[in-house]
């Protein structure tokens, strides 16, 4: 559940009041925030007019710096300056090992938590905490500009992010105290910005090459509906790898053998500078301070193109696969949109253009387009645009599977299935009287479980004891609109719901997050409690509002008098508690209202589906 940030606890916004919403592009290299100000959606600059916030956090003795200020510390204090943290968000210790030459920090691998910790002078921090610092800085920028607190945000993630990476992003938002309306895929956000800009219908391809991730998405645009047909990519491929290729070249050219973190940082910075210079120039100097002297080598565009040739080819390979998944030929694509700083590289433009056989569009600033699209959707989700037809229909980027005998993976929901989606599977027991079982869920396309990404072990308990093979345990896997998985289980013959404990493979547990939350707040317990209470109060008001309007609309029609009265009683009990009860008491009272009205809600949904299908509005039906 998200923690709501509200300006005045206990006050819910009046229904017609505009909500304050923002779109956040949480990037590997750079992050941005955009809002709607008097009808114009745009990214927000800092006092110096810079829109980008480098995704860099510096942990100093008594302060934490984010952005350009942190970037300045990078060369002199590399171990306490964390950059490109998105590359390890939602990742495990083994992933860190394989990335260790790219990431210069010290990691603490001795913990029993599955989440790696970076050692800084202010203690050990996780990628989630580092990301939360970036989010806080962006939220502050938005709040300063709007002059008020944010009601909710849309945060973008690479389309190719798996469940663990998405969950980690949500956790970071929670730590930053943000209410997340939705996680939105970056290419979809870019499509929204372009689609609304050009009012174009058709099939478009979005090629997004940023600092650390590559995404390709194919979307069908039709009257405000953005339907993702297929998506693909690589969540650890980007401009950083180009820098790396240059760095390797330089190390070889100069015959460097005595590498240390400071030198390595320096080389990476020089490499990036040269790469960016080569976008305009045919040749660039790569210079570093080495053994007390300035050493330079010159790199031509031609040589650079060779160094990154494989990388670009890899992205085009993914484009082919994705087209195939969408069951489309290249000719079907009416527009190609370039997103991300690395699409400025001439070789990338050239090859993408050649592949799709058309000049790519880049009329909107590739740095800003994602945040702008996110802010546009945030505005719609906040309810500020009641007449908007806009709807974003996304897909699952990577197949979900479970481990079966022999370490094989069996697909439950294939990639590119539209979300939300739910699939059920039946299991039984092997032993007489067996009351528990475990399901290992993984994500990826490969045959072997060990080649895919482990998401979590779900331990089911409370299966009624029966002879082996008698229980029929239905396990339901559900993926919501954010692309996040949840699992429920029920024994069908007895109707007993199983109790499920989740052991995430690479995620923080709820209690770890709570501990971080407490640690991050000055007055630990009271503040956290106050926030929890405020959160429940807001939820309670939402529930009451929803119940009231539903009862008024068709309560008499769909409910018996007895049922009606029971709902009203539960609702009144909740209302009485709002200002006096604790967070836990309120939670229980909300649950009570929900339980009492569950059947009513279901009947209303059914009724409204029928009406929708009949193609009639409510009034027409009544006539």
């Amino acid at each position: 559940m998200a923690l709501l940030q509200i300006s005045e606890p206990g006050q819910s916004a009046a229904p017609h009041q505009r909500k304050h919403a923002a779109g956040i592009d949480l990037g590997t290299t750079n992050s941005l925030v955009a809002v709607n100000r008097s009808g114009v959606v745009d990214t927000l600059p800092d006092e110096q007019g810079r829109h980008l916030l480098p995704s860099v956090v510096w942990y100093g003795e008594d302060e934490i710096l984010v952005g350009y200020d942190a970037l300045e510390k990078q060369a002199e204090d590399p171990l306490n300056t964390i950059s490109s943290v998105k590359r390890i968000l939602g990742r495990g210790i083994e992933d860190i090992r394989s990335l260790s030459d790219v990431l210069p920090w010290r990691f603490d691998v001795s913990t029993d938590s599955s989440v790696p910790r970076i050692v800084t002078r202010r203690g050990k921090v996780t990628a989630v905490e580092v990301s939360a610092e970036i989010l806080k800085a962006l939220a502050k920028r938005a709040e300063d500009s709007l002059g008020e607190g944010l009601d909710g945000v849309v945060i973008t993630v690479p389309a190719y992010f798996d469940d663990a990476q998405r969950q980690a992003t949500r956790d970071a938002a929670r730590l930053a105290g943000l209410n997340v309306y939705r996680l939105l895929n970056e290419p979809t956000a870019a499509a929204v910005a372009y689609g609304l800009d050009q009012k174009a219908d058709g099939i478009i391809a979005i090629y997004d090459l940023g600092g650390g991730t590559f995404d390709i998405s194919i979307l069908h645009l039709n009257k405000g509906v953005f339907e993702v047909m297929a998506t693909g990519g690589d969540s650890s491929l980007g401009g950083d790898d180009m820098d790396h290729a240059i760095a390797e070249w330089l190390v070889q050219e100069m015959g460097i053998e005595d590498m240390d973190p400071q030198l390595s940082r320096q080389i990476m910075i020089a490499a990036r500078r040269a790469k960016e210079a080569l976008t305009e120039a045919d040749q660039a100097e790569v210079c570093i301070d080495y053994r007390g002297e300035t050493a330079c080598r010159s790199l031509t565009r031609e040589r650079f193109n060779e160094l990154i040739g494989d990388l670009v080819r890899k992205t085009l390979m993914a484009c082919r696969r994705t087209l195939r998944d969408a069951k489309l030929d290249r000719e079907a694509i009416s527009d190609v949109i370039l997103v991300g700083g690395s699409t400025r590289v001439p070789l990338v433009r050239e090859q993408v253009g050649e592949f799709f056989g058309r000049e790519p569009l880049c009329s909107l600033d590739p740095d800003r387009v994602v945040a702008i699209g996110a802010a546009q959707q945030a505005d719609v989700l906040a309810g500020n645009k009641p007449d908007s037809e806009m709807l974003l229909l996304d897909v699952l980027p990577l197949s979900l599977a479970i481990e079966t005998m022999g370490g094989l993976s069996e697909k439950i929901i294939p990639r590119n299935t539209p979300i939300p989606v739910a699939r059920a599977q039946e299991f039984t027991t092997f032993k007489d009287g067996q009351t528990a079982m475990s399901i290992h869920v993984v994500q990826g396309e490969r045959e072997l479980v060990s080649d895919n990404r482990s998401l979590a072990h779900f331990e089911l308990r409370g299966i009624p004891p029966m002879v082996a093979g008698a229980p029929r345990i239905r396990v339901t896997y559900q993926v919501d609109a954010d692309g996040l998985l949840s699992v429920t289980a029920e024994e069908l013959s007895s109707g007993v719901k199983s109790d499920i404990t989740i052991k995430p493979s690479y995620g923080l547990t709820d209690s770890e997050i709570e501990t971080m939350l407490r640690a991050s707040m000055e007055h630990a317990k009271e503040d956290v409690d106050a926030r929890m209470l405020a959160e429940q109060q807001v939820e309670a008001r939402r529930v009451i509002e929803a119940v009231d309007s539903a009862l008024a609309e068709d309560g008499r029609e769909l409910l018996s008098e007895q049922e009606y009265d029971a709902i009203v009683a539960a609702r009144d009990a909740l209302e009485q508690k709002i200002d006096s009860a604790t967070a836990d008491e309120l939670k229980a009272a909300i649950k009570q209202v929900e339980a009492t009205s569950e059947e009513f809600v279901a009947r209303r949904m059914n009724a409204s589906v029928r009406k929708a299908l009949a193609g009639k509005t409510v009034d027409q039906v009544d006539v």
Partner: protein, 180 residues
């Protein structure tokens, strides 16, 4: 799932129960329903509303996926008649069909040594597409006659062909990548 609609998937989209589906109409109906029931429509609502909306939208998606795919659609139509396919234990007993499948697989393997493997594959794909059409027509006829058992046998063949088509597709993709 608390959403227990009385209607079947065809009714959900306002379509007649038939193997022949107007895919444009199906797609439009799907979007119209999602426009109303997608979780984004209750982004500011209560947790319960959000949970239900997710179930709702998942259900609409499932219905759409089922009707959009010929094999799934055929299976679903049979299930409407109370006949479920039990995949694990079922193979088709039609020897002529099996022989043809074996031949097709052999032909596919030979593609590797073809001069132009991609065209070779296209050739097989063409044959299979033709077969799919014939089976679809046969299914429709049998279903209309109420001969559900025979219709079920045809679905098995349709499934078989769909699987080979997928394999050829994957193989072709691999070939193309190797050629790059």
């Amino acid at each position: 799932m608390s959403l227990d609609l009385q209607q079947n998937y065809f009714e959900l989209f306002g379509l007649p129960v038939s193997f022949e589906v107007d895919s444009a109409a199906l797609h439009a109906a799907q979007q119209q329903l999602q426009s109303r029931f997608h979780p984004d429509r209750v982004a500011g609502g209560s947790d319960q509303e959000k949970r239900l909306a997710v179930q709702q939208a998942a259900w609409i998606n499932e219905a759409y996926q089922t009707l959009a795919d010929p094999v799934k659609r055929a299976r679903y139509m049979l299930s409407l008649q109370g006949l479920d396919m039990n995949d694990e234990h079922e193979t088709t007993g039609d020897t002529a069909f099996l022989m043809e499948q074996i031949e097709l697989r052999e032909e596919m393997e030979q593609c590797q040594s073809c001069q132009d493997p991609l065209r070779c594959c296209d050739h097989i794909t063409g044959k299979l597409d033709q077969r799919s059409k014939e089976y679809a027509a046969e299914f429709q006829r049998l279903y209309a006659q109420g001969d559900h058992e025979a219709a079920r046998q045809v679905i098995k063949k349709m499934q078989f062909i769909q699987r080979i088509l997928e394999q050829i597709d994957e193989y072709q993709m691999q070939l193309e990548e190797d050629l790059l």
